[in-house]
């Protein structure tokens, strides 16, 4: 068992740079999830750790040892692939035993380890079957088993659940988490699914365009997103964004319409005077209030009743009831997640207030967070 150090890692394919210097320190036994949209370089990063892809620049260390020049087999890692990559001509048993045979373990030792893993993964009845005779979830478990038996320093997962149906995905997600906890093995897990990321991770790495935009616990990423990208990517329905301004005092926040929101308790250090900002609010942090306390007014356009919640999609109104253009998930529309017992009809005007600390202010030019109020 060991930590993984990823330091200023860069990847170039010819002239195209796909990873622009990523650094992650993975502690021993930690479960790190790398999440980001398709094509942002998650797999490339993982494959560089595995040794399947050459590292153009920077350093990868496993258990304190730099592995840049080592073959995959010498890195003491195991990997689960998206398509499971089970050897189709071998039985489940042989799939799991393959690496151990190569490592030169005795027949008894191999049997013992495979049996143990099979018991853990409830694969005992299937040891003689070929992969094609298994269901998706069982194949997934065999792929896990193949990793476990080798007792590696770290598990690497590349979107291991994306070929499963929704229900099985939830179940396997739990199993992977429990397994990792009980074995205490360091895990690096790649996914584009933010729910998977939130539920599995000890810490999240949110990637975008070959850059790690934020590395933190799921809750901190959710509560204090470092950039507008992270804010929009994590959370469902996505965060609402509105154009606004930071006052010259570095404290006052106003919407572009002139409607004042709230002031920051302290001026932002080095704010550089009045500037355009992006204001972000999560749909679940909007609450229906009386008109006097209202910060935002929404006119409902579409109401979705989900039972526990009522999701209202509407347009933002200024104090003269004119529509204010915003840039939300649905274009000009903002979303508010209200309790299920609130009755809202299309066309209703809703006075809303943002929860304390849930108003995120981002620099409009750089997209970086300035403050949360």
């Amino acid at each position: 068992m060991a930590g993984i150090g990823i330091r200023d890692v860069v990847k170039r394919y010819g002239d195209t740079k796909v990873i622009h210097g990523v650094s992650i320190d993975v502690a021993d036994g930690e479960f790190i999830v790398i999440v980001g949209p398709s094509g942002c370089g998650k797999s490339t990063l993982l494959r560089m750790v595995a040794g399947l892809e050459e590292i153009t620049g920077g350093e990868v260390a496993i258990d304190g040892r730099v592995v840049n020049r080592l073959e995959p087999k010498d890195r003491n890692i195991a990997m689960v692939f998206q398509n499971y990559a089970l050897y189709p001509h071998m039985s489940v048993y042989d799939n799991m035993a393959y690496g151990l045979k190569i490592a030169g373990l005795s027949k008894d030792a191999i049997r013992e380890r495979v049996d143990k893993a099979a018991r853990m993964l409830q694969l005992e009845p299937y040891l003689d079957r070929k992969p094609r005779q298994l269901s998706g979830g069982q194949r997934q478990r065999v792929a896990m088993g193949r990793c476990i038996v080798r007792e590696p320093a770290a598990f690497l997962f590349d979107e291991p659940l994306s070929n499963l149906d929704a229900k099985l995905r939830v179940q396997m997600r739990l199993e992977i988490k429990q397994l990792q906890r009980s074995l205490g093995t360091t895990a690096l897990y790649v996914t584009h699914d933010q729910v998977e990321a939130m539920t599995l991770a000890d810490r999240l790495v949110v990637m975008n365009g070959g850059v790690a935009e934020q590395i933190d616990t799921p809750m901190n990423v959710y509560l204090h997103p470092a950039t507008t990208f992270v804010a929009g990517f994590i959370g469902s329905p996505a965060m609402n964004f509105m154009p606004g301004r930071l006052g010259g005092d570095g404290r006052a926040i106003t919407l572009d319409t002139g409607a004042p929101l709230r002031a920051l308790p302290e001026p932002i250090v080095g704010h550089g005077g009045e500037k355009p900002v992006t204001i972000g609010v999560r749909p679940e942090h909007l609450a229906l209030v009386g008109q006097p306390e209202a910060e935002l007014t929404l006119r409902a356009r579409v109401v979705e009743t989900l039972g526990a919640d009522t999701l209202v999609h509407g347009v933002l109104l200024d104090k003269d009831a004119a529509i204010v253009p915003v840039a939300g998930e649905g274009g000009e529309v903002l979303a508010a997640r209200l309790p299920g017992n609130v009755t809202v009809r299309e066309g209703d005007t809703l006075p809303l207030r943002v929860a304390e600390g849930a108003l995120h202010v981002f620099d409009r030019e750089t997209g970086r967070r300035l403050a949360d109020v």
Partner: protein
């Protein structure tokens, strides 16, 4: 879902089957029947009288040392052609699978021999190895090997093997390459992580997954070596020297059409038919079963 259509009556199904049946009958069954019929007859030297001789043609055949020698030549030739043709094509395909730059040019070059007519291929190799004017023969002589396939039977056999293999490599290469490219990269990567080196990966992962392709090619290549190499041999050595490159198919031709011994030629054809049946049976019955996964 597709629905099974059942035709009523008798006339329509027969009409639909007729073209196939006619072709089979005229081009396969009738010649086969003729061969069977001829194999129990004997004609005199002038073709004037034909007598029924029972199995005498076969008895004569199997006591003829030249015929038994031809059997041996065929076995050596077929094994060599099949093995070399498959092995070299597999090697080339494995290498082509890794090539990224200029891959299509490389592949096109490898496929070109297939477009060369067998007779032309035979002549080409005849030229290259011609003892007096051939480039390769010259080079070999410079290396101290006295190349003269017009006199040396073993060298003649090597020459026809080279020509026959060269002609067939393209075909094998194409199938092997397609087979290799159908193997997911992640399997090989998983094996690499599991600790297998390149050779181990090839023999334990890649090759077993290629075995259906390899089996198919085995059948095709054995058939090719047995029956389709006539033109190459005809153009390169004409079966010589002294019948050292006369494989069974070639002997059917030379005894029947050159030697004009129709009875013996027909009996040889019947033996060949029997061999085809046995080969096909053995291949599908015993080998194919092992390559399923």
């Amino acid at each position: 879902m597709h629905k099974k259509v059942t035709f009523r009556g008798f006339a329509l199904p027969v009409a639909l089957l007729l073209p196939q049946l006619v072709v089979t009958a005229i081009f396969f069954l009738w010649p086969a029947g003729q061969a069977l019929y001829q194999s129990v007859l004997r004609q005199d030297a002038f073709g004037l009288r034909t007598t029924y001789v029972g199995l005498a043609n076969f008895e004569r055949l199997f006591s003829d040392p030249l015929y038994l020698n031809s059997f041996q030549v065929t076995v050596v030739f077929s094994l060599a052609v099949t093995f070399l043709g498959l092995a070299i094509a597999l090697l080339l395909a494995t290498m082509a699978d890794r090539v990224i730059k200029g891959a299509s040019g490389y592949k096109t070059l490898l496929i070109m021999p297939y477009a060369v007519a067998p007779a032309v291929a035979g002549v080409l190799w005849w030229f290259l190895f011609n003892p007096s004017i051939g480039l390769f023969a010259h080079t070999l002589r410079a290396l101290g090997i006295d190349w003269n396939h017009l006199l040396n039977g073993d060298q003649a056999l090597i020459l026809v093997v080279i020509a026959a293999v060269w002609k067939q490599i393209s075909y094998n290469f194409l199938f092997f390459l397609a087979g290799l490219q159908a193997i997911p990269r992640s399997l090989v990567e998983a094996a690499a992580i599991d600790g297998a080196g390149p050779m181990k990966r090839f023999w334990t992962i890649v090759f077993p997954l290629l075995s259906p392709t390899a089996f198919f090619l085995l059948v095709v290549n054995v058939t090719y070596a047995f029956f389709d190499t006539f033109q190459i041999i005809h153009a390169t050595t004409s079966g010589g020297p002294g019948q050292s490159t006369t494989i069974l198919v070639y002997k059917v031709y030379s005894d029947g059409f050159v030697g004009l011994d129709l009875g013996s030629s027909a009996a040889q054809s019947v033996v060949l038919m029997a061999i085809v049946i046995v080969l096909t049976f053995v291949q599908f019955r015993y080998i194919e079963r092992r390559v399923q996964y």
